[in-house]
Symmetry: C2
Subunit: 280 residues, 2 copies
Protein backbone atom coordinates (compact mmCIF):
# COMPACT_ATOMS: atom_id res chain seq x y z
CA UNK A 1 0.00 0.00 0.00
CA UNK A 2 1.37 3.39 -1.05
CA UNK A 3 0.02 6.36 0.86
CA UNK A 4 -0.20 9.59 -1.13
CA UNK A 5 -1.35 12.89 0.34
CA UNK A 6 -2.86 15.65 -1.71
CA UNK A 7 -2.58 19.07 -0.10
CA UNK A 8 -5.31 21.27 -1.55
CA UNK A 9 -8.47 19.61 -2.83
CA UNK A 10 -9.48 22.00 -5.62
CA UNK A 11 -9.82 21.34 -9.35
CA UNK A 12 -6.30 19.98 -9.86
CA UNK A 13 -5.63 18.36 -6.49
CA UNK A 14 -9.13 16.90 -6.42
CA UNK A 15 -8.81 15.48 -9.92
CA UNK A 16 -5.44 13.88 -9.17
CA UNK A 17 -6.80 12.42 -5.92
CA UNK A 18 -9.88 11.08 -7.67
CA UNK A 19 -7.85 9.19 -10.29
CA UNK A 20 -5.31 7.88 -7.78
CA UNK A 21 -8.06 6.67 -5.47
CA UNK A 22 -9.38 4.31 -8.15
CA UNK A 23 -6.03 2.48 -8.18
CA UNK A 24 -5.56 -0.66 -6.16
CA UNK A 25 -3.06 -0.45 -3.38
CA UNK A 26 -3.10 3.34 -3.12
CA UNK A 27 -4.37 5.23 -0.10
CA UNK A 28 -5.20 8.87 -0.77
CA UNK A 29 -5.17 11.29 2.16
CA UNK A 30 -6.48 14.81 1.72
CA UNK A 31 -5.50 18.06 3.43
CA UNK A 32 -7.43 21.29 3.02
CA UNK A 33 -7.81 24.25 5.35
CA UNK A 34 -11.29 24.88 4.01
CA UNK A 35 -13.76 22.72 5.95
CA UNK A 36 -16.42 22.71 3.29
CA UNK A 37 -13.79 21.56 0.78
CA UNK A 38 -12.86 18.73 3.15
CA UNK A 39 -16.48 17.71 3.38
CA UNK A 40 -17.09 17.92 -0.35
CA UNK A 41 -13.94 15.93 -1.13
CA UNK A 42 -15.16 13.11 1.10
CA UNK A 43 -18.72 13.24 -0.21
CA UNK A 44 -17.49 13.23 -3.80
CA UNK A 45 -15.21 10.30 -3.03
CA UNK A 46 -12.06 12.14 -4.09
CA UNK A 47 -10.04 10.88 -1.10
CA UNK A 48 -10.08 8.12 1.48
CA UNK A 49 -9.61 10.35 4.48
CA UNK A 50 -9.11 13.94 5.59
CA UNK A 51 -6.00 14.40 7.72
CA UNK A 52 -3.97 17.26 9.16
CA UNK A 53 -0.85 18.41 7.37
CA UNK A 54 1.23 16.88 10.17
CA UNK A 55 -0.43 13.51 9.78
CA UNK A 56 -0.01 13.69 6.00
CA UNK A 57 3.71 14.37 6.35
CA UNK A 58 4.11 11.57 8.83
CA UNK A 59 2.19 8.89 6.94
CA UNK A 60 2.82 9.58 3.25
CA UNK A 61 5.32 8.16 0.82
CA UNK A 62 4.44 11.02 -1.54
CA UNK A 63 3.04 14.46 -0.79
CA UNK A 64 1.52 16.46 -3.64
CA UNK A 65 1.11 20.20 -3.11
CA UNK A 66 -1.88 21.41 -5.10
CA UNK A 67 -2.43 24.87 -3.69
CA UNK A 68 -1.92 28.33 -5.26
CA UNK A 69 1.68 28.94 -6.36
CA UNK A 70 2.43 31.56 -3.69
CA UNK A 71 1.22 29.11 -1.05
CA UNK A 72 3.39 26.34 -2.50
CA UNK A 73 6.38 28.65 -2.30
CA UNK A 74 5.80 29.31 1.41
CA UNK A 75 4.68 25.81 2.42
CA UNK A 76 7.20 23.70 0.50
CA UNK A 77 10.26 24.57 2.68
CA UNK A 78 8.24 23.85 5.83
CA UNK A 79 7.15 20.47 4.50
CA UNK A 80 10.71 19.61 3.44
CA UNK A 81 11.86 20.55 6.96
CA UNK A 82 9.67 17.85 8.45
CA UNK A 83 9.83 14.88 6.09
CA UNK A 84 11.74 11.76 6.91
CA UNK A 85 14.36 10.31 4.59
CA UNK A 86 12.23 8.46 2.05
CA UNK A 87 9.32 10.82 1.60
CA UNK A 88 8.90 12.48 -1.78
CA UNK A 89 7.33 15.92 -2.19
CA UNK A 90 6.02 17.18 -5.50
CA UNK A 91 3.70 19.97 -6.62
CA UNK A 92 1.46 21.00 -9.48
CA UNK A 93 2.19 24.75 -9.58
CA UNK A 94 1.87 26.60 -12.89
CA UNK A 95 5.07 28.57 -12.21
CA UNK A 96 8.34 26.97 -11.24
CA UNK A 97 11.24 29.46 -10.98
CA UNK A 98 10.38 31.05 -7.66
CA UNK A 99 9.16 27.81 -6.09
CA UNK A 100 12.44 26.10 -6.97
CA UNK A 101 14.39 29.12 -5.75
CA UNK A 102 12.68 28.92 -2.35
CA UNK A 103 14.21 25.50 -1.68
CA UNK A 104 17.39 25.63 -3.75
CA UNK A 105 19.62 25.24 -0.68
CA UNK A 106 17.29 23.14 1.41
CA UNK A 107 18.93 20.07 2.95
CA UNK A 108 16.08 17.92 1.57
CA UNK A 109 15.94 19.55 -1.89
CA UNK A 110 16.68 16.22 -3.55
CA UNK A 111 13.43 14.76 -2.18
CA UNK A 112 11.41 17.45 -4.00
CA UNK A 113 10.36 17.01 -7.63
CA UNK A 114 9.12 20.23 -9.29
CA UNK A 115 6.19 19.25 -11.49
CA UNK A 116 3.47 20.89 -13.54
CA UNK A 117 0.75 18.73 -15.05
CA UNK A 118 -0.65 20.75 -17.97
CA UNK A 119 -4.38 20.35 -17.62
CA UNK A 120 -7.34 22.18 -16.21
CA UNK A 121 -10.67 23.79 -16.86
CA UNK A 122 -12.06 27.23 -16.09
CA UNK A 123 -13.82 25.88 -12.98
CA UNK A 124 -12.49 25.47 -9.44
CA UNK A 125 -12.98 23.73 -6.11
CA UNK A 126 -13.53 20.04 -5.24
CA UNK A 127 -16.77 19.96 -7.22
CA UNK A 128 -14.82 20.87 -10.35
CA UNK A 129 -12.65 17.76 -9.95
CA UNK A 130 -12.91 15.45 -12.95
CA UNK A 131 -11.95 11.84 -13.58
CA UNK A 132 -9.45 11.38 -16.38
CA UNK A 133 -8.69 15.11 -16.60
CA UNK A 134 -5.04 14.33 -17.30
CA UNK A 135 -5.35 11.57 -19.86
CA UNK A 136 -3.21 12.29 -22.93
CA UNK A 137 -1.89 15.53 -21.44
CA UNK A 138 1.67 16.56 -20.67
CA UNK A 139 3.46 16.81 -17.38
CA UNK A 140 6.58 18.93 -17.02
CA UNK A 141 9.28 18.20 -14.46
CA UNK A 142 11.72 21.05 -13.91
CA UNK A 143 15.35 20.99 -12.81
CA UNK A 144 15.37 17.20 -12.74
CA UNK A 145 19.08 17.15 -11.82
CA UNK A 146 18.28 18.66 -8.43
CA UNK A 147 16.11 15.70 -7.47
CA UNK A 148 17.07 12.13 -6.58
CA UNK A 149 16.63 9.84 -9.58
CA UNK A 150 14.40 7.52 -7.59
CA UNK A 151 12.15 10.42 -6.57
CA UNK A 152 11.84 11.58 -10.19
CA UNK A 153 11.08 8.01 -11.24
CA UNK A 154 8.27 7.69 -8.69
CA UNK A 155 6.72 11.03 -9.64
CA UNK A 156 6.89 10.19 -13.36
CA UNK A 157 5.18 6.89 -12.56
CA UNK A 158 2.43 8.60 -10.58
CA UNK A 159 1.67 11.04 -13.39
CA UNK A 160 1.87 8.22 -15.92
CA UNK A 161 -0.69 6.27 -13.91
CA UNK A 162 -3.20 9.09 -14.44
CA UNK A 163 -2.45 9.25 -18.16
CA UNK A 164 0.34 11.82 -18.52
CA UNK A 165 3.63 11.77 -20.34
CA UNK A 166 6.43 13.68 -18.62
CA UNK A 167 8.84 16.13 -20.29
CA UNK A 168 11.86 17.77 -18.69
CA UNK A 169 12.75 21.46 -18.76
CA UNK A 170 14.63 23.97 -16.67
CA UNK A 171 12.38 26.08 -14.46
CA UNK A 172 13.40 29.17 -16.48
CA UNK A 173 12.37 27.59 -19.80
CA UNK A 174 9.15 26.38 -18.23
CA UNK A 175 8.10 29.77 -16.93
CA UNK A 176 9.00 31.56 -20.15
CA UNK A 177 7.08 29.13 -22.33
CA UNK A 178 4.08 29.00 -20.06
CA UNK A 179 3.84 32.81 -20.08
CA UNK A 180 3.10 32.56 -23.80
CA UNK A 181 1.07 29.39 -24.20
CA UNK A 182 -1.01 29.64 -21.05
CA UNK A 183 -0.73 32.76 -18.92
CA UNK A 184 -1.07 35.22 -21.83
CA UNK A 185 -4.18 33.37 -23.04
CA UNK A 186 -5.74 33.79 -19.64
CA UNK A 187 -5.00 37.50 -19.46
CA UNK A 188 -6.25 38.07 -23.00
CA UNK A 189 -9.46 36.28 -22.12
CA UNK A 190 -9.99 38.06 -18.78
CA UNK A 191 -9.50 41.45 -20.44
CA UNK A 192 -11.76 40.54 -23.34
CA UNK A 193 -14.45 39.72 -20.80
CA UNK A 194 -14.01 43.10 -19.11
CA UNK A 195 -14.13 44.99 -22.40
CA UNK A 196 -17.36 43.36 -23.47
CA UNK A 197 -18.94 43.68 -20.02
CA UNK A 198 -18.28 47.43 -20.16
CA UNK A 199 -20.35 47.74 -23.28
CA UNK A 200 -23.09 45.64 -21.80
CA UNK A 201 -23.68 48.28 -19.11
CA UNK A 202 -25.26 50.47 -21.78
CA UNK A 203 -26.38 47.85 -24.19
CA UNK A 204 -28.34 45.12 -22.47
CA UNK A 205 -29.06 43.34 -25.69
CA UNK A 206 -25.46 42.67 -26.60
CA UNK A 207 -25.26 39.14 -25.27
CA UNK A 208 -28.09 37.95 -27.41
CA UNK A 209 -25.52 38.26 -30.14
CA UNK A 210 -22.63 36.49 -28.48
CA UNK A 211 -21.34 33.91 -30.90
CA UNK A 212 -19.57 30.63 -30.35
CA UNK A 213 -16.35 32.41 -31.35
CA UNK A 214 -16.80 34.82 -28.47
CA UNK A 215 -17.59 31.99 -26.06
CA UNK A 216 -14.38 30.26 -27.08
CA UNK A 217 -12.09 33.28 -26.67
CA UNK A 218 -13.68 34.43 -23.42
CA UNK A 219 -14.01 31.02 -21.74
CA UNK A 220 -10.91 31.42 -19.60
CA UNK A 221 -12.29 34.67 -18.16
CA UNK A 222 -14.37 32.44 -15.89
CA UNK A 223 -11.20 31.14 -14.22
CA UNK A 224 -10.55 31.55 -10.51
CA UNK A 225 -8.73 34.84 -9.67
CA UNK A 226 -7.30 33.33 -6.46
CA UNK A 227 -5.51 30.71 -8.53
CA UNK A 228 -4.40 32.95 -11.38
CA UNK A 229 -3.39 36.13 -9.62
CA UNK A 230 -0.43 34.44 -7.85
CA UNK A 231 0.57 32.70 -11.11
CA UNK A 232 0.68 35.99 -12.99
CA UNK A 233 2.61 37.73 -10.22
CA UNK A 234 5.09 34.86 -9.77
CA UNK A 235 5.77 34.91 -13.51
CA UNK A 236 5.55 38.67 -13.95
CA UNK A 237 8.76 39.28 -15.91
CA UNK A 238 7.89 36.78 -18.62
CA UNK A 239 4.22 37.69 -18.63
CA UNK A 240 4.87 41.44 -18.87
CA UNK A 241 7.10 40.80 -21.87
CA UNK A 242 4.47 38.59 -23.51
CA UNK A 243 1.79 41.21 -22.85
CA UNK A 244 3.97 43.93 -24.35
CA UNK A 245 4.41 41.86 -27.52
CA UNK A 246 0.69 41.21 -27.63
CA UNK A 247 -0.29 44.84 -27.06
CA UNK A 248 2.18 45.88 -29.76
CA UNK A 249 0.52 43.57 -32.29
CA UNK A 250 -2.93 44.81 -31.29
CA UNK A 251 -1.72 48.39 -31.84
CA UNK A 252 -0.33 47.53 -35.25
CA UNK A 253 -3.57 45.90 -36.23
CA UNK A 254 -5.68 48.76 -34.88
CA UNK A 255 -3.62 51.26 -36.90
CA UNK A 256 -3.98 49.12 -40.04
CA UNK A 257 -7.77 49.08 -39.61
CA UNK A 258 -7.90 52.78 -38.75
CA UNK A 259 -5.94 53.77 -41.86
CA UNK A 260 -7.92 51.36 -44.03
CA UNK A 261 -4.74 49.43 -44.80
CA UNK A 262 -6.25 46.27 -46.23
CA UNK A 263 -2.90 44.77 -47.18
CA UNK A 264 -1.29 45.19 -43.79
CA UNK A 265 -4.34 43.80 -41.98
CA UNK A 266 -4.50 40.80 -44.26
CA UNK A 267 -0.77 40.19 -44.01
CA UNK A 268 -0.95 40.07 -40.20
CA UNK A 269 -3.85 37.65 -40.33
CA UNK A 270 -2.12 35.42 -42.85
CA UNK A 271 0.91 35.25 -40.62
CA UNK A 272 -1.34 34.37 -37.69
CA UNK A 273 -2.91 31.57 -39.78
CA UNK A 274 0.40 29.79 -39.43
CA UNK A 275 -0.85 28.73 -36.02
CA UNK A 276 -2.72 25.97 -37.92
CA UNK A 277 0.61 24.26 -38.46
CA UNK A 278 1.02 23.97 -34.73
CA UNK A 279 -2.47 23.18 -33.53
CA UNK A 280 -2.84 20.49 -36.23
CA UNK B 1 -41.22 24.49 -55.95
CA UNK B 2 -39.30 27.47 -54.57
CA UNK B 3 -36.00 28.25 -56.29
CA UNK B 4 -33.34 29.75 -54.05
CA UNK B 5 -29.94 30.84 -55.29
CA UNK B 6 -26.91 31.02 -53.07
CA UNK B 7 -24.23 33.37 -54.37
CA UNK B 8 -20.91 32.28 -52.86
CA UNK B 9 -20.47 28.63 -51.90
CA UNK B 10 -18.07 28.93 -48.97
CA UNK B 11 -18.55 27.95 -45.33
CA UNK B 12 -21.73 29.98 -44.77
CA UNK B 13 -23.28 29.88 -48.24
CA UNK B 14 -22.43 26.21 -48.60
CA UNK B 15 -23.92 25.34 -45.22
CA UNK B 16 -27.15 27.22 -45.95
CA UNK B 17 -27.40 25.56 -49.37
CA UNK B 18 -26.78 22.13 -47.89
CA UNK B 19 -29.60 22.45 -45.35
CA UNK B 20 -32.04 24.00 -47.84
CA UNK B 21 -31.32 21.27 -50.38
CA UNK B 22 -32.61 18.60 -47.97
CA UNK B 23 -36.03 20.27 -47.92
CA UNK B 24 -38.78 19.03 -50.17
CA UNK B 25 -39.93 21.44 -52.80
CA UNK B 26 -36.84 23.61 -52.75
CA UNK B 27 -34.42 23.94 -55.65
CA UNK B 28 -31.02 25.29 -54.72
CA UNK B 29 -28.94 26.98 -57.42
CA UNK B 30 -25.33 27.89 -56.75
CA UNK B 31 -23.19 30.71 -58.11
CA UNK B 32 -19.46 30.97 -57.53
CA UNK B 33 -16.72 32.59 -59.61
CA UNK B 34 -14.25 29.98 -58.41
CA UNK B 35 -14.51 26.93 -60.64
CA UNK B 36 -13.06 24.50 -58.12
CA UNK B 37 -15.63 25.75 -55.59
CA UNK B 38 -18.38 25.10 -58.15
CA UNK B 39 -17.11 21.57 -58.65
CA UNK B 40 -16.72 20.87 -54.95
CA UNK B 41 -20.20 22.22 -54.19
CA UNK B 42 -21.69 19.81 -56.73
CA UNK B 43 -19.59 16.87 -55.57
CA UNK B 44 -20.46 17.54 -51.94
CA UNK B 45 -24.14 17.78 -52.85
CA UNK B 46 -24.51 21.30 -51.47
CA UNK B 47 -26.57 22.49 -54.45
CA UNK B 48 -28.70 21.09 -57.25
CA UNK B 49 -27.02 23.04 -60.04
CA UNK B 50 -24.36 25.60 -60.81
CA UNK B 51 -25.69 28.60 -62.72
CA UNK B 52 -24.48 32.03 -63.80
CA UNK B 53 -25.44 35.09 -61.76
CA UNK B 54 -27.78 36.15 -64.57
CA UNK B 55 -29.58 32.81 -64.57
CA UNK B 56 -29.82 32.91 -60.78
CA UNK B 57 -31.40 36.36 -60.87
CA UNK B 58 -33.81 35.29 -63.56
CA UNK B 59 -34.97 32.02 -62.00
CA UNK B 60 -34.93 32.59 -58.25
CA UNK B 61 -37.62 33.59 -55.84
CA UNK B 62 -34.90 34.30 -53.26
CA UNK B 63 -31.25 35.22 -53.80
CA UNK B 64 -28.86 34.87 -50.86
CA UNK B 65 -25.56 36.74 -51.09
CA UNK B 66 -22.92 34.81 -49.14
CA UNK B 67 -19.70 36.49 -50.29
CA UNK B 68 -17.27 38.77 -48.39
CA UNK B 69 -18.90 41.95 -47.07
CA UNK B 70 -17.11 44.28 -49.47
CA UNK B 71 -18.29 42.15 -52.37
CA UNK B 72 -21.86 42.18 -51.03
CA UNK B 73 -21.70 45.95 -50.89
CA UNK B 74 -20.68 46.21 -54.56
CA UNK B 75 -22.84 43.38 -55.93
CA UNK B 76 -26.09 44.04 -54.07
CA UNK B 77 -27.05 47.22 -56.01
CA UNK B 78 -26.36 45.45 -59.31
CA UNK B 79 -28.53 42.50 -58.32
CA UNK B 80 -31.34 44.79 -57.17
CA UNK B 81 -31.11 46.61 -60.53
CA UNK B 82 -31.95 43.41 -62.35
CA UNK B 83 -34.57 41.60 -60.25
CA UNK B 84 -38.19 41.43 -61.23
CA UNK B 85 -41.00 42.53 -58.93
CA UNK B 86 -41.34 39.51 -56.67
CA UNK B 87 -37.76 38.45 -56.17
CA UNK B 88 -36.31 38.75 -52.68
CA UNK B 89 -32.63 39.43 -52.06
CA UNK B 90 -30.98 38.78 -48.72
CA UNK B 91 -27.41 38.40 -47.50
CA UNK B 92 -25.38 36.90 -44.66
CA UNK B 93 -22.77 39.64 -44.20
CA UNK B 94 -21.19 40.14 -40.78
CA UNK B 95 -21.42 43.94 -41.11
CA UNK B 96 -24.59 45.77 -42.04
CA UNK B 97 -24.23 49.58 -41.94
CA UNK B 98 -22.30 50.09 -45.15
CA UNK B 99 -24.17 47.39 -47.06
CA UNK B 100 -27.50 49.00 -46.14
CA UNK B 101 -26.13 52.43 -47.00
CA UNK B 102 -25.13 51.23 -50.49
CA UNK B 103 -28.79 50.59 -51.38
CA UNK B 104 -30.62 53.06 -49.14
CA UNK B 105 -32.10 54.94 -52.11
CA UNK B 106 -32.36 52.01 -54.48
CA UNK B 107 -35.75 51.69 -56.19
CA UNK B 108 -35.90 48.03 -55.17
CA UNK B 109 -34.63 48.54 -51.60
CA UNK B 110 -37.86 47.09 -50.20
CA UNK B 111 -37.09 43.72 -51.84
CA UNK B 112 -33.81 43.46 -49.91
CA UNK B 113 -33.70 42.02 -46.39
CA UNK B 114 -30.44 42.70 -44.55
CA UNK B 115 -29.63 39.55 -42.58
CA UNK B 116 -26.79 38.09 -40.54
CA UNK B 117 -27.04 34.51 -39.36
CA UNK B 118 -24.71 34.26 -36.35
CA UNK B 119 -22.86 31.03 -36.93
CA UNK B 120 -19.59 29.80 -38.32
CA UNK B 121 -16.37 27.96 -37.69
CA UNK B 122 -12.73 28.90 -38.24
CA UNK B 123 -12.69 26.97 -41.54
CA UNK B 124 -13.63 28.16 -45.03
CA UNK B 125 -14.63 27.04 -48.53
CA UNK B 126 -17.27 24.54 -49.73
CA UNK B 127 -15.53 21.69 -47.92
CA UNK B 128 -16.06 23.52 -44.63
CA UNK B 129 -19.84 23.52 -45.19
CA UNK B 130 -21.70 21.69 -42.43
CA UNK B 131 -25.21 20.35 -42.06
CA UNK B 132 -27.16 21.86 -39.18
CA UNK B 133 -24.57 24.61 -38.61
CA UNK B 134 -27.34 27.08 -37.79
CA UNK B 135 -29.53 24.99 -35.50
CA UNK B 136 -30.30 26.86 -32.28
CA UNK B 137 -28.38 29.94 -33.42
CA UNK B 138 -29.57 33.50 -33.90
CA UNK B 139 -30.28 35.38 -37.07
CA UNK B 140 -30.36 39.18 -37.09
CA UNK B 141 -32.41 41.19 -39.55
CA UNK B 142 -31.48 44.86 -39.73
CA UNK B 143 -33.58 47.89 -40.64
CA UNK B 144 -36.66 45.74 -41.01
CA UNK B 145 -38.82 48.80 -41.75
CA UNK B 146 -37.00 49.34 -45.06
CA UNK B 147 -38.11 45.94 -46.37
CA UNK B 148 -41.52 44.77 -47.51
CA UNK B 149 -43.26 42.82 -44.75
CA UNK B 150 -43.77 39.85 -47.04
CA UNK B 151 -40.06 39.78 -47.93
CA UNK B 152 -39.09 39.86 -44.23
CA UNK B 153 -41.60 37.10 -43.55
CA UNK B 154 -40.13 34.86 -46.24
CA UNK B 155 -36.55 35.43 -45.10
CA UNK B 156 -37.48 34.75 -41.46
CA UNK B 157 -39.15 31.53 -42.63
CA UNK B 158 -36.07 30.44 -44.60
CA UNK B 159 -33.76 30.97 -41.63
CA UNK B 160 -36.28 29.30 -39.34
CA UNK B 161 -36.29 26.28 -41.63
CA UNK B 162 -32.57 25.81 -41.00
CA UNK B 163 -33.02 26.18 -37.24
CA UNK B 164 -32.57 29.88 -36.52
CA UNK B 165 -34.59 32.36 -34.53
CA UNK B 166 -34.59 35.89 -35.96
CA UNK B 167 -34.08 39.10 -33.96
CA UNK B 168 -34.42 42.64 -35.25
CA UNK B 169 -31.94 45.49 -34.82
CA UNK B 170 -30.89 48.67 -36.59
CA UNK B 171 -27.79 48.24 -38.73
CA UNK B 172 -25.95 50.67 -36.40
CA UNK B 173 -26.79 48.62 -33.30
CA UNK B 174 -25.83 45.45 -35.11
CA UNK B 175 -22.40 46.65 -36.16
CA UNK B 176 -21.62 48.12 -32.75
CA UNK B 177 -22.57 44.96 -30.90
CA UNK B 178 -20.83 42.66 -33.32
CA UNK B 179 -17.61 44.66 -32.99
CA UNK B 180 -17.54 43.56 -29.36
CA UNK B 181 -18.96 40.06 -29.34
CA UNK B 182 -17.41 38.80 -32.55
CA UNK B 183 -14.93 41.03 -34.39
CA UNK B 184 -12.88 41.89 -31.28
CA UNK B 185 -12.64 38.18 -30.40
CA UNK B 186 -11.24 37.47 -33.82
CA UNK B 187 -8.64 40.22 -33.63
CA UNK B 188 -7.61 39.20 -30.11
CA UNK B 189 -7.17 35.64 -31.32
CA UNK B 190 -5.25 36.54 -34.50
CA UNK B 191 -2.85 38.74 -32.51
CA UNK B 192 -2.42 36.10 -29.82
CA UNK B 193 -1.41 33.67 -32.54
CA UNK B 194 1.16 36.13 -33.89
CA UNK B 195 2.61 36.81 -30.46
CA UNK B 196 3.10 33.15 -29.68
CA UNK B 197 4.45 32.36 -33.15
CA UNK B 198 7.10 35.05 -32.63
CA UNK B 199 8.41 33.24 -29.59
CA UNK B 200 8.36 29.93 -31.39
CA UNK B 201 10.97 31.23 -33.83
CA UNK B 202 13.54 30.95 -31.05
CA UNK B 203 11.94 28.31 -28.95
CA UNK B 204 10.95 25.30 -30.98
CA UNK B 205 9.78 23.42 -27.97
CA UNK B 206 7.11 25.85 -26.96
CA UNK B 207 4.20 24.11 -28.62
CA UNK B 208 4.77 20.94 -26.70
CA UNK B 209 3.39 22.96 -23.86
CA UNK B 210 0.35 24.44 -25.55
CA UNK B 211 -2.63 23.80 -23.33
CA UNK B 212 -6.30 23.39 -24.09
CA UNK B 213 -6.76 26.94 -22.80
CA UNK B 214 -4.40 28.23 -25.46
CA UNK B 215 -6.13 26.18 -28.16
CA UNK B 216 -9.45 27.70 -27.15
CA UNK B 217 -8.31 31.34 -27.17
CA UNK B 218 -6.29 31.02 -30.38
CA UNK B 219 -8.79 28.94 -32.38
CA UNK B 220 -10.17 31.90 -34.32
CA UNK B 221 -6.65 32.79 -35.54
CA UNK B 222 -7.16 30.01 -38.09
CA UNK B 223 -9.97 32.00 -39.71
CA UNK B 224 -9.85 33.11 -43.34
CA UNK B 225 -8.19 36.55 -43.80
CA UNK B 226 -10.13 37.14 -47.05
CA UNK B 227 -13.38 36.89 -45.13
CA UNK B 228 -12.33 38.83 -42.05
CA UNK B 229 -10.24 41.65 -43.46
CA UNK B 230 -13.28 43.24 -45.20
CA UNK B 231 -15.41 42.75 -42.09
CA UNK B 232 -12.87 44.56 -39.91
CA UNK B 233 -12.46 47.40 -42.42
CA UNK B 234 -16.19 47.81 -42.99
CA UNK B 235 -16.72 48.06 -39.24
CA UNK B 236 -13.55 49.98 -38.48
CA UNK B 237 -15.02 52.77 -36.33
CA UNK B 238 -16.66 50.36 -33.90
CA UNK B 239 -13.79 47.91 -33.97
CA UNK B 240 -11.13 50.55 -33.37
CA UNK B 241 -13.09 51.73 -30.34
CA UNK B 242 -13.43 48.17 -29.03
CA UNK B 243 -9.71 47.57 -29.58
CA UNK B 244 -8.83 50.76 -27.73
CA UNK B 245 -10.92 49.64 -24.76
CA UNK B 246 -9.31 46.23 -24.88
CA UNK B 247 -5.75 47.56 -25.16
CA UNK B 248 -6.48 49.92 -22.27
CA UNK B 249 -7.51 47.01 -20.05
CA UNK B 250 -4.45 45.01 -21.10
CA UNK B 251 -2.27 48.00 -20.16
CA UNK B 252 -3.95 48.33 -16.78
CA UNK B 253 -3.42 44.67 -16.10
CA UNK B 254 0.17 44.71 -17.29
CA UNK B 255 0.90 47.64 -14.95
CA UNK B 256 -0.77 45.84 -12.05
CA UNK B 257 1.41 42.77 -12.65
CA UNK B 258 4.53 44.85 -13.17
CA UNK B 259 4.06 46.72 -9.90
CA UNK B 260 3.13 43.54 -8.05
CA UNK B 261 -0.32 44.95 -7.31
CA UNK B 262 -2.09 41.77 -6.25
CA UNK B 263 -5.30 43.56 -5.30
CA UNK B 264 -5.71 45.40 -8.56
CA UNK B 265 -4.99 42.30 -10.64
CA UNK B 266 -7.45 40.24 -8.64
CA UNK B 267 -10.09 42.95 -8.79
CA UNK B 268 -9.90 43.09 -12.58
CA UNK B 269 -10.18 39.31 -12.81
CA UNK B 270 -13.13 39.21 -10.43
CA UNK B 271 -14.92 41.79 -12.52
CA UNK B 272 -14.18 39.71 -15.62
CA UNK B 273 -15.64 36.63 -13.89
CA UNK B 274 -19.00 38.35 -14.20
CA UNK B 275 -18.97 37.03 -17.77
CA UNK B 276 -20.21 33.75 -16.22
CA UNK B 277 -23.56 35.42 -15.67
CA UNK B 278 -23.85 35.92 -19.40
CA UNK B 279 -22.43 32.73 -20.81
CA UNK B 280 -24.55 30.66 -18.40
Amino acid sequence: MMTISVIGLGLIGGSIAKDLKTQINVEVLGVDLNESHQKQALELGLIHKVVSLEEAIEKSAVIILAIPVDKIESLLPLVLDKISGDTIVTDVGSTKVQICRAVVNHKNRSRYVAAHPLAGTEFSGPQAALSHLFVGKKNIICNREKSDDSAVETVVKIFKSIGMQTYFLSSEEHDKHLAYVSHLSHVSSFMLGLTVLDIEKDEKQIFNLASTGFASTVRLAKSNPSTWSPIFLKNSDNLVKALENYIDYLHQFKEAIKSNDHEKAELLMKEANDIKRILN
